[in-house]
Symmetry: C2
Subunit: 321 residues, 2 copies
DNA sequence: TTGTAAGCGTTATCAA
DNA sequence: TTGATAACGCTTACAA
């Protein structure tokens, strides 16, 4: 493998000059630049990335923490991040945590050890103070509302959008509303819970804990929901379902049991995934790929200031309400 | 950040000795080793990974080429690879190609440039000679039958399993059989096509090109299939569907149009994803996560010899045949 | 506009 | 069993 010194020799210049043209720095005469360019072509030169990294103290690696990679929500975020990473000559290092705190800490440790330049946490289980302790070691980007904290984020105001969806259902006449969610802990989930509770009290409805269904992540989890709803003496008339996949599962299962949707049970999904279009599911569109791109861009942004990007969402009315 | 030289000073030894204990090399006296260990503890030392990489000429990075990351088939492979990478202290670098050859070449170039230690290609669009040209630069692992070629692979014999499924349908009385697939090009798809053609001639059935449905990747693609089947004067009575998600989409869509499954149309899915269990879809189980793990292990295997791991599959009988 | 030389933090060779 | 010291290939003061 030819290196920068070989190039210098070939072009009859110093390594510094070679480095200059390699990095597009000014102050190189046209003829020397050309000579070097020719040498690069001829030798099929490829810079040694490790040497660059060592010298610059940068890795061009960005860590990405996701609980599961095989979940459409995170896969879509990943898609956006991967696209942007490629364009910016960065690579993504994957941390699949299964929501194990130890795994998240491993990722944070890698930041501390300078093995990655920045860390994007798409969803976390560790507490804020835990994260905060690693802030001095490099940028940490979150996918949740961090306004007031000293970390950048791209996020959806889940309180607002949940409240919006709930009020929409209320206007359609629903008074017994529940929701399905992946997990009840987590910042975003807490925001939604808060919206739900406030909604219930604002509209003087009964707060019914049984109307909250946890562990709803995949299509097949819809079965459980229908099961549970079917057993209730006083079932909900409408459900907010925080993933279109789950909503689709609910619709499918409901059909098999002759439960009419939206007649017996109205549904609002989230994300506007293709499956929701096919199955005509009313949904709140969340531009996940775009959020992924923005998260990545924040990760490599060298600005010291924390930036907060709120992403607006949009109701797509279809046939499940 | 304290470095190896600081440690040496603290422990009153040379950097060589420090490096020795860091890497568990022999020939270090117990007391010096202890002194160094103490220094490491006290200073909270973390090795500079870039320096290690430069010195060793290794990156501990493995590239992964997938056409789409937001597809369960590849997400499941990724899950397996990510798990194993973590355990072996490697990181995964993602290449999302959208089946663009240029993207695959970028990944191959990174191998050539030593920016990654090995490359796993889960699905490709480039020709074999293209790949072959990069073989001298590092291990390339494929997820397709490479027996006879000088590259390692973990794969399913798609010819065999397709033939098995086709004969199973034949025994159940089906004579008009078709299949749904993501794309018709690609090694694995070609194997399946070959099985299909041989099956048809072996059993003296008509080869009906219209029974082959391309672009079937996601749940929502099932709609197209039902659409097309509905328009046929002489529709297939059974379909092999190379992804359970698509099979689920077909089942869902069929229900809406009062097409009885398996009465009007029998279905065999592939992969045994959770969705197939929920929807009672007969399927060929493919252990994708496990395949992912094995692919990764092959990538970091230092053996020169190419290894070929055939993964057996298994029919899961449920209610769509 | 150009070049010399000093890092960056390791590993590995070789001599002691 | 140890330690100088030379790589590894690049960037970047600093000097000219």
């Amino acid at each position: 493998m030819t290196n920068i010194r070989d190039l210098a020799k070939m072009a009859g210049v110093s390594v510094t000059t070679v480095s200059r043209v390699l990095n597009n720095h000014p102050y190189v005469s046209a003829d020397k630049r050309n000579a070097i360019l020719v040498a690069i072509k001829q030798s099929n030169y490829q810079p040694n990335i490790n040497a660059v990294h060592l010298s610059m103290g940068k890795t061009f690696l960005v860590g990405v923490v996701v609980p599961f990679i095989d979940h459409p929500y995170f896969a879509l975020l990943m898609k956006g991040m991967a696209t942007e990473a490629l364009e910016n000559n960065y690579k993504l290092v994957l941390f699949q945590t299964n929501y194990l705190e130890t795994r998240e800490i491993e990722a944070l440790q890698m930041l501390k050890q300078k093995q990655i330049d920045a860390l994007i946490i798409c969803s976390r289980t560790s507490s804020w103070p835990t994260i905060e302790a690693y802030l001095p070691y490099g940028p940490i980007i979150l996918c949740e509302d961090t306004r007031g904290k000293k970390v950048s984020s791209t996020f959806v105001d889940h309180y607002k959008s949940f409240m919006f969806a709930l009020e929409y259902l209320y206007q359609k006449g629903h008074r017994q509303i529940g929701y399905c969610i992946g997990r009840i802990s987590g910042t975003n989930s807490k925001q939604r819970e808060m919206a739900f509770k406030n909604f219930v009290t604002n509209y003087q409805l009964a707060y019914e804990p049984a109307y909250i269904f946890e562990h709803c992540r995949h299509f097949e989890d819809g079965e459980q929901v229908i099961e549970l709803v079917g057993q209730m003496a006083n079932p909900p008339s409408a459900l907010l379902v925080t993933s279109d996949e789950v909503a689709a599962g609910i619709v499918t299962c409901a059909q098999n049991r002759n439960i009419s949707i939206p007649g017996d049970l109205a549904l609002i999904g989230f994300n506007n995934q293709p499956i929701s279009k096919m199955m005509n599911i009313t949904t709140i569109e969340i531009p996940l790929v775009d959020i992924g791109r923005k998260l990545f861009l924040q990760a490599i942004d060298t600005d010291e200031e924390a930036a907060y990007q709120e992403i607006p969402v949009q109701l797509i009315e279809r046939e499940t309400v």
